[in-house]
């Protein structure tokens, strides 16, 4: 397992709800737990992945994610079992969309 952490500053979009989870920790898949958290406006992402040695790709995918959504005061935690970058992006978008769409 490899553990990676990222902190993004300067987000502008606050999440309306407390927490949600999308995805399943299965082969080639991952779960994303997304929560509102008082982080001085920042967005933190913590990743536990079974695929060791892909830090540079994770960083690029997370940077793209933050550019898309600009989340503030959000804490994201990922349990990954070897998902591809496209699947990771999809699940992250699903997590945000789920938080935004439901009351």
């Amino acid at each position: 397992m490899e553990h990676l952490s990222y902190l993004f500053k300067g987000g502008t979009r606050a999440l309306p709800r407390a927490a949600d989870v999308v995805g399943v920790v299965g082969s080639g898949n991952l779960e994303v737990l997304i929560e509102t958290a008082p982080l001085q406006g920042n967005c933190s992402i913590d990743i536990a992945t079974a695929a060791v040695g892909f830090g540079a790709i994770w960083e690029a995918v997370m940077t793209d994610f933050h550019a898309r959504w600009q989340l503030m005061d959000a804490r994201i935690a990922i349990n990954d079992m070897g998902a591809t970058p496209a699947v990771v992006s999809l699940r992250l978008d699903q997590a945000v969309e789920t938080m935004l769409e439901q009351p």
Binding site: M1, V25, E35, A50, N79, D80, M81
Partner: protein, 296 residues
């Protein structure tokens, strides 16, 4: 998007129960994860592969658990099992109209060895305690991973089992049998054989499950709702165990020599057993009504 088979555990809860009614105990955000998987350098899930809580089913209070087959085959580890037991014990306290177990599991999570085995035995005891308290327990089996091992026994400890044709229920799974007894005894890659042996239709014919439904979440919902009222003897009694024992003895005497499920169906009196696997659930139930072993 109504397939029970294709849905995740959380999607099943969302669509089976009254909308927005599910209140989860120990949700993923509480991060109660397996203490064992981390030591083995294996990935964890924030809910340890099971969601438990209270909800409404057509307005009636139910307690519910849904196992996620996508996470380690729905296998029961220490935390996963403790969540099931905790929910069942809370049910005795809060007295819902029923407890629903949405089972999809290979049984004990072998990574957690004795802790997983103990957890499954605690779940069995807790299920029987809930029944002894007068609260019906129903098992729903329709996930891709089936319901095997110790959790197969748990399913049979409930008041009633609702299955789809795609659902599977047994003690040893196909690959376990092949590994232990050889491919000549059982070819785990023969999907038709696997479903003939463990699938919902076979279980229904033998009386091992009480209801067979199509692979649709609303069909499982309707069946679960109907079973809450259909269950008569909620608590397990010595008399019921003896009846079951007598039934199994008779079953072994009648069919113990049979090598293949289709031969068994023929021995039951089914006139065209070859046609059974092709029938839709409703047509199947209608067709086999006369031959089905009516048992629990």
């Amino acid at each position: 998007m109504n397939s029970y088979l294709e849905a995740t555990a959380r999607e099943r809860l969302q669509r089976l129960l009254d909308p927005g009614s599910f209140q989860e105990f120990l949700p993923p955000s509480s991060r109660v994860v397996s203490p064992h998987l981390g030591q083995l350098n294996a990935p964890v899930a924030f809910d340890d592969g099971v969601a438990v809580g209270r909800a409404r089913l057509d307005g009636r209070l139910v307690f519910v658990a849904a196992q996620e087959g996508g996470f380690m085959g729905g296998a029961v580890g220490e935390v996963h099992g403790a969540k099931l037991v905790g929910m069942l014990r809370r049910a005795i306290h809060d007295r819902p109209d029923a407890v629903l177990l949405l089972l999809e599991t290979g049984g004990v999570r072998l990574h957690e060895a004795n802790a997983g085995l103990i957890a499954v035995s605690e779940v069995m005891r807790a299920v029987l305690d809930v029944r002894a308290a007068g609260i019906p327990v129903l098992a729903l089996v329709g996930g891709a991973n089936g319901c095997f091992g110790g959790m197969g026994i748990v399913a049979r400890c409930t008041n009633a089992i609702v299955m789809s044709e795609e659902g599977r229920l047994a003690m040893s799974g196909p690959e376990v049998i092949e590994t232990a007894s050889g491919v000549e005894e059982f070819d785990a890659r023969d999907r038709a054989l696997v479903w003939r042996t463990t699938g919902g239709k076979h279980r229904y014919l033998l009386g091992d499950c009480q209801v067979l439904v199509a692979d649709a979440i609303n069909a499982f919902r309707a069946a679960a709702l109907a079973q809450i009222d259909a269950v008569t003897d909620v608590a397990l009694t010595l008399d019921a165990i003896e009846q079951e024992q007598a039934l199994l003895t008779t079953r072994l005497e009648r069919f113990g020599h049979v090598r293949e499920p289709m031969e068994l169906w023929r021995a039951l009196g089914v006139t065209e057993p070859e046609a059974l696997p092709l029938l839709e659930a409703d047509a199947f139930v209608e067709q086999v009504a006369a031959w089905r072993l009516g048992a629990h």
